[in-house]
């Protein structure tokens, strides 16, 4: 007689255990990280500079879109290398594009080639990969050929009161989930070269944050990438995106131990760039355990209620 009464809580407990185990597995999934090389001096803005470390290839896949837009069907990649110094960080983004599409006066049917880098604003938990959510926004650097570079925030807009928005220097009423940060936060510089069927874009921004909705990159961080191929009419959601990629800041110990070394030695250290493994933090393990226990408790309560009947 006791057995059926115990069955329900038993099943719930088993499910909870499995969930907790899965959670631990997800949390401990390992992914390679890109090393951000430390440079003691000014950062390179020339894509051909020898200071750039060996790039990491980040795969991009076309974003799935719904009516009335057509989904693009192709896979491509963007090569990423990054350097930083005490104040700034620079990314070199390189990707193949057979046609150079640059916005120009009177270019009514021109869609510029473009690239974007997305960072989590908060460090607590990785935001939703598709441009964040209301409670977990992302900071985006968006460069378009012939247009320039913008420092944007996505996701935050509709989660803030008009007062909060005014205090942040944003328009009182949001008009879009993606918005320009105020002028004081437009602190990103871009240097672009198109050569031999490929774009070479250098993006330089301060290492720290200058706005509450801008990410600080002063510690290890995550980033995601997207490119647009203008000749295929790609604009807006028609783009190819990556998953989150981990970036690890090379500790400036080199600089401390070799303070008298001139800049050229940096080229030697570039060969030492290694790929390291880091934990991707999603939902923490303890959260899964708590969820499991709660589910079990609910099941016990349900079982007790059933027995009374």
């Amino acid at each position: 007689m006791r057995r059926p009464e115990l069955l329900l809580p038993g099943v719930a407990l088993a499910v909870a255990v499995v969930l907790a185990a899965l959670g631990v597995m997800v949390v401990t999934a390992q992914e390679s990280a890109v090393l951000v090389k430390f440079i003691n001096g000014s950062l390179p803005v020339d894509p051909a500079s020898p200071l750039w470390p060996k790039p990491a290839d980040v795969p991009l896949t076309s974003q799935t879109l719904v009516y009335p837009l057509a989904p693009a069907v192709e896979n491509r990649a963007v090569s990423v290398s990054a350097v930083y110094n005490g104040t700034h960080i620079a990314f070199l983004l390189t990707w193949k594009d057979a046609t150079q599409d640059v916005a120009k006066p009177g270019g009514l049917d021109v869609f510029p080639d473009a690239v974007a880098v997305q960072f989590p604003v908060s460090r607590a938990q990785l935001p939703y990969i598709c441009m964040g959510t209301v409670d977990n926004p992302v900071n985006i650097i968006y460069w378009r050929a012939g247009v320039g570079v913008e420092n944007l925030v996505a996701g935050a807009g509709y989660g803030l009161s008009p007062q909060q928005r005014e205090a942040l220097g944003l328009q009182t009423t949001p008009t879009s989930p993606v918005e320009l940060l105020p002028d004081s936060a437009q602190v990103v510089q871009a240097y672009a070269v198109y050569k031999d069927g490929a774009w070479y874009v250098v993006l330089v921004r301060p290492l720290g944050s200058v706005h509450p909705l801008m990410s600080s990159l002063a510690d290890d961080f995550s980033a995601a990438f997207a490119t647009w191929d203008g000749s295929k009419g790609e604009r807006g959601g028609l783009k190819a995106t990556s998953g989150w990629v981990q970036f690890h800041l090379e500790r400036p110990i080199f600089a401390a131990t070799q303070p008298t070394q001139p800049a050229p030695t940096a080229t030697q250290t570039s060969a030492t760039t290694v790929t390291q493994t880091y934990v991707v933090e999603t939902t923490p393990a303890w959260a899964w355990v708590v969820i499991g226990v709660l589910v079990a408790l609910l099941a016990v309560v349900a079982g007790l209620a059933l027995r009374r009947k």
Partner: protein, 473 residues
């Protein structure tokens, strides 16, 4: 029945003299800025001709409007997977002249010449195309590009004795089923509930140009300077104050009439998906557009929150009379399935009387019969009624009957009174109709042509909650 009110316009093409005053005043008010030089929110096309942008009616090329796909409405851009907007070649490169040279040139044997220079980048250019190029001497070869010309009869139209022309002024049609709106992934385009004006929210627009590709009338334009798209706003700040749009106000021929039309929002999608385009056209007038004198319509309008002064305005509306009561005004290309809300009274051709011998016209009377008109009815039907020639013929008959009737009042000629009676009967008009039509078409005053109620602002009764939107700073 879900009643909505829309500010609508009717243009009497019979009186359009092609002066482009509407075009120029619109330009000076709204698009006189960099990035907008090539935009003509209002333009007047000389037809037959390719129109502006070139061949906008040819949807095989421009992919505008809706098509039926298995009985369901779908955007043509989506069916064809072609989202490309027209390029500057399809419009034209806007230019000005280097006028400074006329003052600064040193004295020589020749007069100084103000060369054309591009308004986009300032370099000298050769003018090879324009917004109504077929009306310029250089562009007559474009005439046969008109998609409305019957392919079999194209050569006939160019014979001197059969050649014809008319003017077609165009603005945004502020459609009931706008394909530009449907194509925007950012929801930057909206149709105002209170007056049906279709607008592009400049703060939401990111310049993707799906709307430009999807509009079958090509009346959304991309501003390369701001990186956003723009269109005719029906001069809504003026409309809200009860004033006509600038194009209508300044019209020299007084061809434009502005008023309220009531429509049934519940019927829009059903009628837009009507398989037979000519039936679509008739159902649009009969079912979607409502009779503002019908007590059921009035009570439904009241419960939908339409103010009484708007209902009264709908009853006095000149557009209602032309479109619904007399059925002499038609939408432009209803077969694009957007249910356009700008209407056209088809033109009678130039009245030819005594030059029978010279031009070979078969004239039977002072006023020709519909079958004897210079502009082929088929051509008009291709533009305004999805090919339904009977509708156009009936409208033209009415217009001619009114003229015969008015002539009979002023000319003593044996049998003319009988002839007038017969013409009215054939056209299905009473003498009272004829009087009213004559007043509205020929001698209407400002307050007859423009019956525009002021905006109730009922959506802005809590302005503190709507800062930054609804036109509130």
């Amino acid at each position: 029945m879900k009643v909505r009110a829309q500010i609508s316009m009717a243009m009497n093409l019979d009186k359009c003299l092609g002066c482009n005053t509407c075009t120029v005043t619109c330009k000076n008010v709204w698009t006189n800025r960099q990035g907008a030089e090539y935009m003509w929110w209002n333009n007047v096309e000389t037809r037959p001709g390719p129109g502006y942008p070139r061949q906008w009616e040819n949807q095989d090329k421009h992919n505008g409007g809706w098509v039926l796909d298995g009985g369901k409405l779908k955007l043509r851009i989506e069916i064809k997977k072609d989202y490309k907007p027209p390029g500057l070649d399809d419009y034209y490169e806007p230019w000005t002249y280097e006028y400074e040279v006329l003052f600064s040139e040193k004295q020589t044997d020749q007069q100084p010449v103000a060369r054309p220079i591009s308004l986009i980048d300032g370099r000298p250019m050769d003018v090879s195309n324009g917004p109504n190029w077929n009306d310029d001497l250089a562009g007559t070869d474009l005439l046969l590009e008109d998609p409305n010309l019957d392919p079999l009869q194209k050569s006939i139209y160019t014979q001197f004795k059969d050649v014809f022309m008319m003017y077609l002024p165009r603005i945004c049609n502020h459609c009931l089923n706008p394909s530009c709106l449907a194509a925007c992934p950012r929801k930057a385009i909206y149709k105002r509930e209170e007056d049906g004006i279709v607008l592009v929210d400049q703060s939401r627009c990111r310049g993707y140009r799906y709307c430009v590709a999807a509009c079958p009338y090509k009346k959304v334009y991309y501003n390369w300077k701001t990186g956003k798209s723009e269109k005719c706003i029906l001069c809504y700040p003026r409309i809200e104050a009860g004033q006509p749009p600038v194009c209508a106000l300044t019209c020299v021929g007084k061809i434009r009439y502005v008023g309220v039309l009531l429509y049934d929002a519940d019927k829009v999608l059903d009628v837009a998906a009507e398989p037979d385009p000519t039936r679509l056209m008739r159902r649009f007038i009969d079912e979607v557009l409502l009779d503002p004198f019908d007590p059921d319509v009035i009570s439904a309008a009241r419960s939908a929150g339409i103010p009484d002064d708007w209902i009264t305005a709908a009853q006095r509306s000149p557009v209602y009379k032309m479109v619904k009561k007399w059925q002499v005004a038609f939408p432009l290309h209803p077969e694009f399935r957007t249910l356009p809300m700008i209407f056209y009274v088809p033109p009678l051709s130039p009245v030819v009387t005594t030059f029978e011998q010279a031009y070979g016209a078969k004239i039977t009377d002072v006023f020709p019969r519909v079958s004897e008109l210079r502009i082929p009815v088929k051509y008009l039907a291709s533009m305004f009624t999805a090919g339904d020639t009977a509708l156009v013929e009936q409208a033209l008959k009415k217009l001619i009957a009114v003229r015969i009737y008015e002539r009979s009042k002023n000319v003593t000629e044996p049998g003319l009174a009988d002839k007038a009676k017969q013409a009215l009967a054939e056209a299905g008009l009473t003498e009272q109709d004829a009087e009213e039509m004559y007043r509205l078409f020929a001698i209407a005053r400002y307050e007859d042509r423009f019956v525009i109620p002021t905006n109730p602002k009922r959506y802005a009764n809590q302005p503190q909650l709507q800062r930054g939107v609804a036109g509130l700073p």
